[in-house]
Point group: C2
Chain length 273, copies 2
Amino acid sequence: MEPLPFLRALTPCDRCAVRKTSLCSRVNVDLQRDLARLSHHRTYRLGETVLAEMEATSFVGIVVSGVLRMQKSLEDGRQQLVGLLFRSDFFGRVFGGLSDYAIEAASDVILCCYERRAFERLTERFPELEHQLMLNTLDELDAARDWMLLLGCQTMPERVASFLLMLCRRGEPDEWVSGANLSIHLPISRRDMASYLGTTGESISRVIHEMSRRGIIKIRNAQDFEILNKRQLVRMSGRDDLSIRPAIAAQSSRSPYERLAAANGLPRSTGFH
Amino acid sequence: MEPLPFLRALTPCDRCAVRKTSLCSRVNVDLQRDLARLSHHRTYRLGETVLAEMEATSFVGIVVSGVLRMQKSLEDGRQQLVGLLFRSDFFGRVFGGLSDYAIEAASDVILCCYERRAFERLTERFPELEHQLMLNTLDELDAARDWMLLLGCQTMPERVASFLLMLCRRGEPDEWVSGANLSIHLPISRRDMASYLGTTGESISRVIHEMSRRGIIKIRNAQDFEILNKRQLVRMSGRDDLSIRPAIAAQSSRSPYERLAAANGLPRSTGFH
DNA sequence: TGTCGTCTTTGTTCTGGATCAAATTGAAAT
DNA sequence: ATTTCAATTTGATCCAGAACAAAGACGACA
């Protein structure tokens, strides 16, 4: 039950763009007020570092607009993008301090931030805040493992298709119509996309143009596409339709091992077919 | 075996093999008693499925002995191992029910289990239990992202070296002496190891024998090795020594981007050098 | 409008590992 | 011990995609 407006001070949060979907709105009003009091906005330009690798995390928060990338690097310069954060996503390593990946602005971004220690103290007073964080962390863990499957055993066409479908689900919702044709806006550079998919910009370019040649997508420009044949894109991704996860999945009667046995002697595949 | 009636106050947990290191012992005594009351043991043979992919998670728990593997599979039979669970590790998907990976016994295992819903109700009554789960989940998330780096941009020799070092840290502690020579027991098959590293059994075999040829390890038999030159193994892994994470890392003065620039024009590498 | 610098595309070559194949080891069952 | 069957090793070939190279495309700025 929402209290009448004149009974409490209006916080900036009441008009926040990500109010309806972010973690901070899924807790009770008292806690929301405390969070509002603690919050402050920060803005970063494309490419700026929000939190460096192995730096003590001084603040955490929510993405209000733009895209953050989480990335790890090896001494010799190789990099791996380990996650993208879109509007209303929570960022920052709580409980433990040291983040073992860098958080950088993949576009111009606005962030709603909380001083980390203060935020953690709040979770102690309000278990429901920690619970929301927990649900969030579990989702991220599922997503990370899903990406391990992609990096560990999928081909480039499968990876690119999966990535495009992921953008459909997670990208700016006002950017796509839910009709037959879906528009996709790439919020990141080819280099970032390549790093996320464990490949190179050149390979991505080739796959995307091959998709276009086959009429699966239409290339408007280097970062805007239109999905012409979603069914085929899903098929190319080598997954069940990622956007449709039934609440209760049908139980498969065959174990993974039996399925593996059934797949013995599969012909080689180019990924396109 | 059933405890004698007059010993009921003493829980089986008091003599549990993983008592000192597992999540359930890091909470207060009241909660420990409730947990003990809820717990029951289950045993599985090598290869048996504990929880199938996309099956509703009916129970969660702790590994008492043996190794569990978490793995995902694609329709055509390709598989990716997304994690290994050793003694005292927590397993099972809480809050959400559907696990999107299978949990299988990678060896004979003994598990200490809690009915999932009952366990979740306990976290509502005891926030500190949820907090311990949270810390655990965050660690797993860090580990998953670390593995994404490995799968996304490391060579086979690097992956195998990283894996062996990981076993040093997480494998059975009584299996290795902390002297100059370290013994490693592979608790899983080549197939599992290959799946974890995103490669094939053949490639693993070649890398391991090349390591042996170079005097980095000694092969006692197919699943028992001895590390003869840990420094070189660490170097081969392409990482900082994974087993020594300083509480506060030295802050790197160079950003990943600068380092990338510095690494331009690197010569190709076989991984061995 | 041109010029610079960056990002992307397209073309070519090369190689790390996958795949295919066969031999070897090893453990369980008879 | 001997047969079976599976797991591992070793050998030979092949190819998806990396690396290298060079040519557009595009935006920023004067």
